[in-house]
């Protein structure tokens, strides 16, 4: 099972290395959002921008993530590779987990690259509290990819492909967005992680529930 998951993950990493579709889409889009935020909040006092910074980052990550996730299943549609995946003697759940991990990895890496750029552009420092922030980044991004991988599989089957994913995705990831923003604000303000175990629990519970259930029902999404 683990080997099969790793195979799918490796296949996606290889495809990504050759096409660079998901990563470049997410990275450039997130960067653009960070730049546009600057104009949107031009008249806001600097203090309030700094307070809103974790929120801005998560908004950029969410929307950039949607863009990347849309590609994750659309790419399988081309050259009928979806059919090849379905013919492969692999449990459909393993396909889900492999793709989910791949999506997580691509999203997470582009987020890690956006953070220093954000720090430079907004004179914002992440260094003091980087490790706890990194943990939140992992938990939040895992939630996004857990939901996003299965929903992008649903969305490619509809007539409105690209539009459908954000409509399905955004209301469902509300708990992740709230939890990630809430904990990021506190962590970056110097609060220790011990004080926010409730929020970390919500993020973990969300990740566990959605990964498990998606694993179980993914076969119905992949069906032709």
């Amino acid at each position: 099972m683990l080997k099969k998951i790793a195979r799918i993950l490796w296949k996606d990493i290889l495809t990504e290395f050759r096409t660079r579709e998901m990563f470049s889409a997410m990275f450039v889009f997130a960067l653009l959002m960070v730049v546009v935020f600057n104009f949107a909040f031009e008249n806001a006092p600097r203090d309030s921008i700094l307070q809103a910074a974790p929120g801005l980052l998560w908004v950029a990550f969410t929307f950039a993530g949607i863009l990347g996730l849309n590609r994750s299943n659309a790419i399988e549609r081309e050259n009928m590779s979806m059919q090849a995946l379905m013919l492969a003697p692999i449990d459909r759940g393993a396909v889900y987990l492999g793709k989910m991990l791949a999506n997580f990895l691509f999203m997470w890496i582009s987020e890690l690259l956006i953070i220093p750029i954000f720090a430079v552009l907004y004179n914002y420092s992440f260094t003091a509290h980087f490790w706890p922030f990194l943990l939140i980044l992992v938990l939040g991004t895992l939630g996004f990819s857990a939901v996003g991988t299965i929903f992008s599989g649903i969305a490619v089957n509809t007539k409105m492909r690209d539009v459908m994913l954000p409509i399905l995705f955004l209301p469902v990831v509300v708990p992740v967005v709230i939890g990630a923003v809430e904990t990021s604000i506190r962590v970056l303000a110097g609060e220790p992680l011990r004080g926010m175990t409730d929020w970390l629990k919500i993020l973990v519970v969300f990740d566990v529930i959605f990964i498990t259930v998606s694993f179980l029902v993914f076969e119905y999404v992949l069906e032709e």
């Binding site: 649903i154 409509i167 399905l168 209301p171 509300v174 708990p175 709230i178 529930i209 069906e223």
Partner: protein
């Protein structure tokens, strides 16, 4: 089958609706501070209860479909989602109508209001998903998957929003406050009326789905013979 029973609800409903209005406006006393505005509570909370019931049954229908692959379960889930959105919309519109004169604002990002809005968005997404998948089996499978994941999300949404807004006062209504016995009776009449209305409409909607399916297959049959 189900609609034959639910159709019988038509007759009690014809009587119950005027009766519920009588209970609300004549029988139940006027609330001391809010006055006539409080009357909206009877339908508002009843609609709120029905949409929660309806969304809960979407989950049951979705699981039922994935397990049995029977079309009637899919029709059940879809009809319940439609009705849930209608009743949720009633709840979301009567709420601000009450809040404006009492709280002085139409809307506040309070836990219950926000989670209701998010739930509404989830089930609107569910209906949109259905609208954009033309092939019936595929539509049933995909929407069942979304129906299950969306329903699992509802409690998580609720708790996360509650913690997010803990500093805010608890919602005025449904806070376990004391309700005048006469008001309570009027409220339960409305609750029963709305619940029966839901089941009546559910049967009707499922019957329409059945007819649509039949017309679809007849059309295909006619097309293949022509």
């Amino acid at each position: 089958m189900f609609h034959k029973i639910s159709n019988l609800l038509f007759f009690p409903l014809i009587l119950l609706f005027p009766f519920s209005l009588y209970m609300v406006f004549v029988y139940a006393p006027e609330e001391a501070t809010m006055g006539i505005i409080q009357k909206i509570f009877y339908y508002h909370v009843s609609a709120g209860w029905v949409f929660m019931l309806a969304f809960g049954l979407v989950l049951i229908g979705s699981i039922g479909y994935l397990v049995t692959q029977r079309r009637s379960w899919d029709s059940f889930a879809a009809s319940s989602a439609e009705l849930g959105v209608v009743f949720c919309t009633i709840s979301l519109t009567t709420g601000p109508l009450w809040a404006k004169p009492v709280w002085g604002i139409w809307w506040t990002w309070d836990a219950r209001l926000t989670s209701t809005l998010v739930e509404w968005l989830i089930y609107v997404a569910y209906l949109m998903l259905r609208a954009y998948v033309p092939e019936p089996t595929k539509r049933a499978n995909l929407s069942a998957v979304f129906g299950i994941l969306g329903a699992l999300d509802v409690p998580i949404v609720y708790f996360s929003i509650r913690w997010w807004r803990t500093q805010h006062p608890a919602p005025v209504m449904g806070g376990g406050g004391y309700l005048d016995p006469q008001m309570r009776v009027a409220f339960f009449v409305c609750l029963a009326t709305f619940t029966l209305l839901y089941f009546f409409l559910l049967g009707l909607r499922m019957k329409i789905n059945e007819a649509e399916d039949e017309i679809g297959s007849l059309k295909r049959l006619a097309g293949s013979q022509a």
